[in-house]
Symmetry: C2
Subunit: 338 residues, 2 copies
């Protein structure tokens, strides 16, 4: 069977408690004793039994991460960041996919995984704002994303501000007819609505008129839907010199179409995305975009959750991550007609 602390203690000629002290970095152990124990550990190939520790301590050392889909680049990269942040703090992440389906999101709140984790990072996409009471669960939880505002900690992007900044960035580069792609008409919250609001805000501030003809709807935020929306705009003959894609996939789809149609980017049309997904570093031309602070979101969310797990009872907090404009080729300066 597996080597236990008992075996190590026996071998090192100490008690089991001393072994525990060494393993747990308890400071008051005589160096000589510590050495003997460490030697025994090495010789026996001992490895701590996490399950036993967890049972004893009443925690599992794991946190859950429930997200729509790993195959959506933003979430894959978010998962990456969360795992890194968690690792740095000594906890392990258990990922769960909800497929952005309402019932599976509800299920995640009550799945068997909840018995295996000390808390949950929850990124819902389908739950409705009216269902916030479902978020009143009896375990620590931190919400990610824009979707809900229940009585729990919440880490979110500066959607409005960042979209505004992206649009203004295009204005500063000389754009006067700026289209946006990815709108969800009728939506009252959620990223599409918030980013659209930021876009309009920027136009207003810049003294540019809002033109509904410059708005490209796109339900799913994929390359293909971005390409379709861009195609519709071009086919409609709308005059434009800038495009703000509400995420990078949409913007990349738009870039693709512009290329195909012989529209020079950034010379004729400048393009901004949103998310700073890995792909944006590999496009032609390189896509300018918004870094929404994914790292910060991940580390903050993990920290808030760990505080709750540690027993913090402060009122629900709301953290908005810092964003940054990532200026690349697709909206280089110097494109303006002087």
């Amino acid at each position: 069977m597996a080597v236990t602390m008992h075996d190590v203690a026996h071998r090192a000629g100490v008690s089991i408690k001393t072994v525990s002290n060494v393993v747990n970095q308890y400071p008051h152990v005589r160096p000589e004793t510590r050495r003997r124990v460490e030697e025994a550990i090495a010789e026996l190939g001992y490895r701590l039994n996490t399950t036993a520790r967890n049972l004893r301590q009443g925690r599992t050392g794991m946190i859950g991460l429930a997200l729509p889909e790993l195959s959506l680049p933003y979430f894959a990269e978010l998962a990456d960041s969360v795992m890194r942040a968690a690792e740095a703090r000594g906890v392990v992440v258990l990922i769960e996919q909800t497929g952005a389906q309402r019932d599976r999101e509800l299920q995640a709140l009550d799945s068997s995984h909840r018995r295996l984790t000390d808390g949950l990072l929850f990124s819902p996409l389908a739950l409705e704002p009216e269902e916030t009471e479902r978020l009143e669960v009896d375990y620590p939880m931190v919400l990610l994303g824009e979707r809900m505002f229940g009585p729990v900690d919440h880490v979110t992007m500066a959607n409005v501000e960042a979209a505004r900044a992206a649009t203004l960035h295009l204005v500063e580069r000389g754009c006067r007819r700026i289209a946006t792609i990815g709108a969800h008409p009728g939506e009252t919250m959620g990223s599409a609505r918030l980013r659209f609001d930021g876009y309009r805000k920027a136009l207003a501030e810049a003294g540019l008129p809002f033109d509904p003809d410059l708005v490209g709807d796109a339900g799913l935020w994929h390359r293909s839907t971005g390409a379709e929306a861009m195609t519709r705009l071009l086919d409609a003959g709308v005059e434009l010199d800038g495009v703000f894609g509400m995420n990078d996939a949409l913007a990349l789809g738009a870039l693709h179409v512009l290329h195909t149609r012989g529209v020079a980017v950034p010379h004729d049309v400048a393009v901004m995305g949103f998310d700073d997904v890995d792909d944006a570093r590999y496009s032609e031309p390189l896509l300018s975009t918004i870094d929404p602070g994914r790292e910060q979101i991940a580390t903050t969310a993990v920290d808030l959750l760990l505080e709750r797990i540690a027993g913090s009872q402060v009122p629900p907090r709301r953290v908005v991550a810092d964003f940054e404009i990532v200026a690349r080729e697709s909206c280089l300066l110097g494109r303006t007609v002087h």
Copy 2:
């Protein structure tokens, strides 16, 4: 504190063992007793403590999945399939990223996660074939991918055969000058080499000459590198009427360039990818590709691993998944000059 079996037993007026029997679907429980226990469970909101069960049973009910990166679409979708397969079998998946770095791959073999999992599904990308002895670990493991052939169970794609089939598919559609993109010159194993071998095999069978000018190298298998390779081929003025991308990202990058250059797909050039990634369903035109049997790979790998965990001592097995040609628009028939 949490509700325990003891509480339930007390409430139902039975012993703790009876509760355990009910919870574990033990058949010989009087219906009346079962009902009483189930009632008590519901009333108290009892949930089994998995940690305690795991400690007692000496297993964790979790399996590890170590893969290069979730942000690579193929692996994100593989993770998805593995999680589904595992769920159906009542086990939970713990994902770990290695970044395709040799040291982190080695680390994964010995990380703290190993104490939390009953076994490991390991998909290395950087380890060298000479290092197969590192795979002789003291826990159940199943290898995924082409990279290594150590003394462990291995589930792999039919790389050579599928690449051959993809290339022949282009031949059947009338292609005579078929380029391939994604080659890794000098590689002796790994997907790039195997798929290249399949490509050459198909050419030979079809009686077509192999022309080194039709081979586009690409170290990383991204859209951008695919686009670059395609650009180099076109710029070199090589005559071609078909392209086999060694994965979908490469093929999608090539599609993009062909579009930009005004080359009609599939009319002038037919294109095949490999992997059947989600994106292939959203491109313009839709990308024909190879479904390498990801679902089958996932379910088989999970099954093999669970057999090992259950104690199976049979010699290492090697399973090659079935593949399928997914014919979409990018290589439609009727493009041939008759």
